[in-house]
Structures are given as structure tokens and as C-alpha cells.
Symmetry: C2
Subunit: 304 residues, 2 copies
């Protein structure tokens, strides 16, 4: 671990209320930065920038430090923590958002601690494009690899800002619907290529239980998802994928096509664990052997 390069994530920390066919849970630890950090930490040192309110349970913060996640960038603001309430039905591919209370996230202006500003691997989780740009502006050295996510809301409401973000990042990771919305292409292959025209050298399209596509100028790679036979709660799968991906690249220390493919497998592994429990329960209790063996399992079922 100590030989790995660190990875920085800027995103949300949330308290989620989630309803799936397996039950309803309240005030679960959630948020993009949380899932990302839990998924990346087995691979590389993680630095987290986010905000919570005065009501945020101390135990969650203690758990982060127990896992070795550097959360000095987690601001505690006056007000309440961001809350999301959602429901999954049927094949659980799509979350229905029942309620969103931004609370302290609504006025969040991310500030990077001084020693975060040279982090070589940076993930800009879904956020207002102005916040994503602000993070890039605060970096003192150009990161080796910066990747962003976004969501339909920003594609519709803040497209100019988002385009500026896309011109400046190295990679973008979107789900299939976002990729279609951003590019106006219904066909995912066209959508993936069109994403590259917006600036990034690498575009990854996440397709949930159907895996992920990788697009770069010269290459295309298709990876099926790990076949999870008991999906308990899909919340956080996408951010866990991103966490495994970026953690894996940070551990490798460099970004090549071969490394990206292996990193996508690590992302797939972490997403598969994430959905096997509510919140970060499964991610939090993972052993290195479990991660390695699921990675090898995927390599195995890809092999001809």
C-alpha cells in the first residue's frame, strides 16, 4: 500500500434511506465520496474532500480513519448532512429518488488541504461543474490522471460548465443514460465515441449489471459485470466502480491501456461487493484475498 500513489476524491457524504426488495434501511452511510473511498482504499491511500453537518455520526468518521482513509478534507459545517431517499424495485437497475435534501451540500465550496494539492490521481465525483473546476484550479501540480463523473441534472442545467470540465479532465465515467443524454446519441457506441470528442482521452460507460465499455482514441474494450447472484442494494455501485478503478490505477502508478483494463476489472469487483449489502457494509469488511480472488474469477470467465 505504502508504495502506491495517493488518490483524491471530491464528492458527497450522505445519510441514505433506501428501500429494496430486501428491506428498508434508514440513515445509512452513503454518498459518492464514501463509496469511492471505501472501494479505493484497499488499493491506494485515499484522500477525501466532502462536507457533513453537525448531525453526522462520529462513528462514521472514526471508521474512515480506522480504514486508513485520510479525511482531513471532510468539512463539518453548520446544518444537517445531505440526505437521499430512494427505492429499487423489480430488477433493481434503476433507483427511484423519493427525496433529496442537499442541506450542507447545497452551499459546499470544496477546499483542498495544502498537502492534497499534489495528489496524482483525482476523481471528481458528481457535483456542480463549478465545484469540479474549483478543485482542478486548486491543484498545484498537474495530476497524472483526473477523472470526472456527472449526472443528468448538470447535463441539463449546467452544460457550459460541464463542457469546460470535460475539456480539462483526462477521463470521464458515466452511466449509459448519462452518456446518451450528454451526447444526444442513443447508440452507446456512438455515445462513447462522442464523449471523446468533448475532450477526455478516455471515456468509460457503466452499464450496471451489463458491465462497462471503455473508449479511447484507438481502443475499445468491453467488460461484463461480475455475476452477482444476490443483489441487496445497488446504491453506490457506480462510485464503488470508480473507486476500484482509480485505486487500481493509483496502485499501478501509471495509466496504460492494459492497466486501464485491469483497473476496470478492479472497479467491477468493488461494485460487485458494494451491491451485496446495504451501505458500505460489505466493502468495509473485505479482505485482500477476496478482492484478488474475485478479480481472478473475472479474468477467468473472460478468457477464451
Amino acid at each position: 500500500m505504502s508504495s502506491s500513489h495517493p488518490v483524491l476524491v471530491v464528492g458527497s457524504v450522505a445519510l441514505d434511506t433506501v428501500e429494496t426488495p430486501f428491506g428498508r434501511r434508514e440513515e445509512l452511510l452513503g454518498g459518492s465520496a464514501t463509496f469511492f473511498a471505501y472501494a479505493a482504499t484497499p488499493f491506494a491511500p485515499v484522500r477525501l474532500v466532502s462536507v457533513v453537518g453537525r448531525d453526522f455520526p462520529a462513528e462514521h468518521e472514526e471508521r474512515l480513519s480506522q480504514l486508513g482513509i485520510d479525511a482531513r478534507g471532510l468539512e463539518r459545517a453548520d446544518g444537517e448532512t445531505f440526505r437521499w431517499t430512494g427505492r429499487y424495485e423489480g430488477d433493481m437497475n434503476v433507483a427511484e429518488t423519493l427525496d433529496t435534501k442537499l442541506n450542507v451540500l447545497g452551499t459546499f465550496d470544496p477546499k483542498l488541504p495544502a498537502d492534497y494539492r499534489t495528489t496524482p490521481f483525482v476523481f471528481l465525483a458528481n457535483a456542480h461543474p463549478a465545484n469540479q473546476l474549483s478543485v482542478m484550479d486548486q491543484m498545484e501540480t498537474r495530476p497524472a490522471f483526473t477523472v470526472c463523473d456527472t449526472m443528468n441534472y448538470w447535463i441539463e442545467q449546467e452544460l457550459d460548465g460541464l463542457r469546460e470540465v470535460l475539456r480539462r479532465v483526462d477521463g470521464v465515467v458515466l452511466n449509459d443514460e448519462e452518456a446518451r443524454r450528454l451526447t444526444g446519441e442513443r447508440n452507446l457506441i456512438r455515445a462513447g465515441r462522442a464523449m471523446l470528442d468533448l475532450g477526455p482521452k478516455v471515456a468509460i460507460v457503466k452499464k450496471g449489471e451489463h458491465g462497462a465499455f471503455l473508449f479511447s482514441m484507438l481502443d475499445f474494450f468491453a467488460l461484463p459485470a461480475y455475476p452477482v447472484d444476490s443483489v441487496i442494494d445497488p446504491t453506490g455501485a457506480g462510485d464503488s466502480f470508480a473507486g476500484g478503478l482509480m485505486g487500481s490505477l493509483a496502485r499501478a502508478g501509471r495509466v496504460t491501456l492494459a492497466r486501464l483494463k485491469r483497473a476496470m476489472i478492479d472497479g467491477t469487483v468493488m461494485a460487485s461487493f458494494a451491491v451485496e449489502s446495504f451501505s458500505v457494509e460489505r466493502l468495509a469488511s473485505l479482505g485482500e484475498g477476496e478482492i484478488r480472488s474475485r478479480h481472478e474469477e473475472i479474468v477467468q470467465f473472460l478468457s477464451l
Copy 2:
């Protein structure tokens, strides 16, 4: 080709009227046996058993023989040819059936020409389970590999017969919805395994643009679809997949896990060509080089 083992398909020959975002076409050559035969013939000698009416255009039958497809099993019955009318919208993953006229297919009782009865590779396309059983009963030697397809209608209306078919075949190829319906499992991994409990040694689940899964007692293999960037008409994709699959196995002459994986790639290749045009247009004009190079492209984008 002459060194390949022959493959037998029993299924439908249809005249389709299809509406996609790319236009509306009437009286197109279609049907499961047709797409299967066109997709399998580049790999192995194909024997076709089906029925058409007096109205079936002679040119279609001539085309079959030009392609070297043995259609002595194509019965011409009094009445009209089976007709299907369907529409695709949006992402074109699901066909909306607007009209079905079984016509001569409704009373079809498949009769295998004598020299078809020792064919080593047999595909029972979607049909009444009694017809599928009748074909198996007519075989004089036990085929090396018999595979069946079905559809939701038979799962709901003729489950006992279908279960008997499944006990007797070696493999089954269903799409995701049929796999779920047959097994009552929403999760595709559980569904795939449950299919094996019904008898077949090999179960393949087709997921359209999301690829296909292979299940056998000891193995699991996941294959993404070929990334077609211009889908004109998805009709026949599943049967073209089956045709490429069975043709490829027949050419290999034996069924091993490694051969099955390669055959699934050939199935994927033929399905990808099938959807690039209306009807069998693209399949009919394929060169061997095109098939081989798309196969290699898939191997390439699977490789780590």
C-alpha cells in the same frame, strides 16, 4: 466447408413487415429457420426444415440453394406463408408485435427427409414443444449436440411439453426475459443456473446488445455483444446468433468449453451483421474475410 459436419434447423420461414426508426419494409424474408440458416451456412452445411405457403416467392427459395443451403426439408403447403408484423422504437431492444398470422405454420408437422435423420448438430428453433419432440423422435442416430430455443408463449401454455424437451436436449438458448420467465428467477445468474437444473448441460442467455452468458455445470462465461454503431433492424438477431453458434460448433465437429466460447463469438458476429440491415440482406452478402475479421476484433477487445 466440405469437412464440416452438417447442422439441421427446424423452425419458421416468414414474411415480415417491420418498422424501425430507419423505415418500414413489407414482406421481407424472415423467420427463425431463415436467419439461422443464413448465419450458419458460412460455417457448415445447413439442412433446413420448415413450411411456406403457395404465395412464397420463388426467388427466396432460389437464394437458399444459391447459398448452398439444403432446403429439401422446406415444405410448400396449401395456404399462405406465416406472417409477422412488428415495430421497434427507441433503443430497439424490444420488438412490439403488431400482428401474427400463423397461416401454414399453424398446422405444420415437421417431416425430416431420410438423410437428415443422422445430422449431428440440431437446432430446434422456437416452436410448439410437440414439434420439437417430434423432430428428436425422428432422428435415427443420437446427434452430437441438440439445442433448443422457445418463447414465453410456450413457457406459459405448454410447460409440460417444454420441460420434456429440456430434459432431452444438450443445450438451450434463451433471451433474458425467457430465462427469467422459465425459471421464475429475476437474477440472470440464478436463472442461468436454474436452467441447467431442467436438464440441459449448457445454457446460454442472450441479452441483446448486452451480449450473452454461458452456463454449464462447472463454468461461466460472459461475452459482450459486438458494438454495432448502426442498428437498422434487430429482427432475427437471436436466431442469427444461434446460427453462428451451431455452425461454428459443427465446423469444429466437437463441443468443448473452448469451442463453445469461440462459437459464441461467431454467434455474436453473425447477430451483429444481421442487425445492420433489414431482413437477411447483410448476412446474404457476407464474405468470409468479414466474418473472420469481426471475430478477431471481438477477441481483441476481450483481451486483457
